[in-house]
């Protein structure tokens, strides 16, 4: 046997396993959304610092930038940012509640067909996601139709 060859293949899914939710449950998609929106918000914070630093280049540069941000493409980006913030915050509330053991039920002897805590707190998930959707719609209407 060639000693340079690996004895086992590295079968880690990597980014694909993180991004591709496939036929897993709704919460698996929320996991993806939570992480993507979190990364988006961190990226925004960095860009926001760069953006506000433009004030140091003078009033004209600042006003030019503000005019650019008032255009439609940036309004849409702003709205997406708002939607990401709302989703992340609302899903965060759900995660906080479950991490403290609320809405998950009590451990019990598993009897087939098994029920999981994920399914037991599904009503909470739907309520919180419906609230998030409502806030995103209301926010959009005030942003685009002030």
């Amino acid at each position: 046997m060639n000693s340079n060859k690996p004895t086992a293949y590295n079968n880690r899914l990597g980014l694909k396993g993180w991004v591709y939710a496939g036929r897993y449950t709704f919460e698996r998609y929320l996991y993806l959304g939570h992480r993507l929106s979190g990364m988006g918000l961190i990226a925004y914070m960095v860009l926001h610092i760069i953006e506000t630093a433009n004030r140091m280049r003078g009033v004209e540069a600042w006003q030019g930038l503000m005019a650019l941000f008032a255009s439609w493409p940036f309004k849409i980006i702003e709205y997406l940012l708002f939607a990401a913030a709302v989703f992340h915050a609302m899903n965060g509330v759900r995660l906080l509640m479950t991490e403290l053991g609320f809405f998950l039920g009590k451990p019990k002897e598993p009897v087939y067909p098994y029920s999981s805590s994920v399914m037991r707190h599904r009503p909470l998930t739907y309520i919180i996601m419906a609230l998030a959707g409502l806030l995103i719609i209301l926010g959009g209407s005030s942003l685009f139709f002030p």
Binding site: Y9, G22, P110
Partner: protein, 277 residues
Amino acid sequence: MIDKTNTPREITFRLRRFNPETDSVPHWDSYALNVPDGMTVLEALHQLKAEQEPTLAWRSSCRMGVCGSCGMFINDLPMLACQTQVLHLGTDVVSVAPLPNYPNVKDLVPNLEPLIEKHAAIKPFIIHTNSKEIDEPTGEFLQTAEERESISQFTHCIKCGLCLAACPTVATDPLFLGPQALAQAYRYTADNRDCGLHDRLEAIDVFHGPYQCHLAGACSQACPKGVDPAFAIQLLKRTLVLDSIGFGKRESSLAKVMPLADVVKAIEEFAPPKRTV
């Protein structure tokens, strides 16, 4: 759709093959097989090996969902091959690959060492302050039915490793302890005979510990025994929070030792009537 006429249906099996002695990356091979109603993926693999591909390798033992050896990635979901009926999958093409997130030893065989190492790291045994009673028992630690039920479902883990294959965090973070080890950490920590939380903190209260879990629930969906590791991880997080603010397990709540004579008396009291025939 299940064929109620019970006539075998031709299914194409796409099997992921890998031979470390000849291949640097895995490849897919296809085999056709007539599958009757009720045939499991494991039985199909046995038939394929017997009739078409004698070099095919996988790991299995009990054939009844107890040993946890035959975990595989079937149609992109981790399942036990012995508990998965081919026709219930509802597809004409069934893909079978080794469990992801573990090194692939050969064909469908994963190396489960990462699972076992993480399991061992959380000290999966009862830790009690009364070491004299552990070494030289004078009776039994008392555990009520309610106390037993509070940990019961987490004791059903068969270490098949499906949960780590399903977990999206494990997919990108090899150091994450993963659902199996964290669920077992809770199982022992919540046991009223155990007071070893602080002994386990070094392993579990770390960056790659329970707070990397964002409740995707994939582990609980994949678990073939109803252990619900996602549930245990959330309860472990709560335990850690309560302990950090001074509301951890108290010495007074630990299981009391029931003298052996009382144990025998209790057994006699609750024993069924003696046979008369």
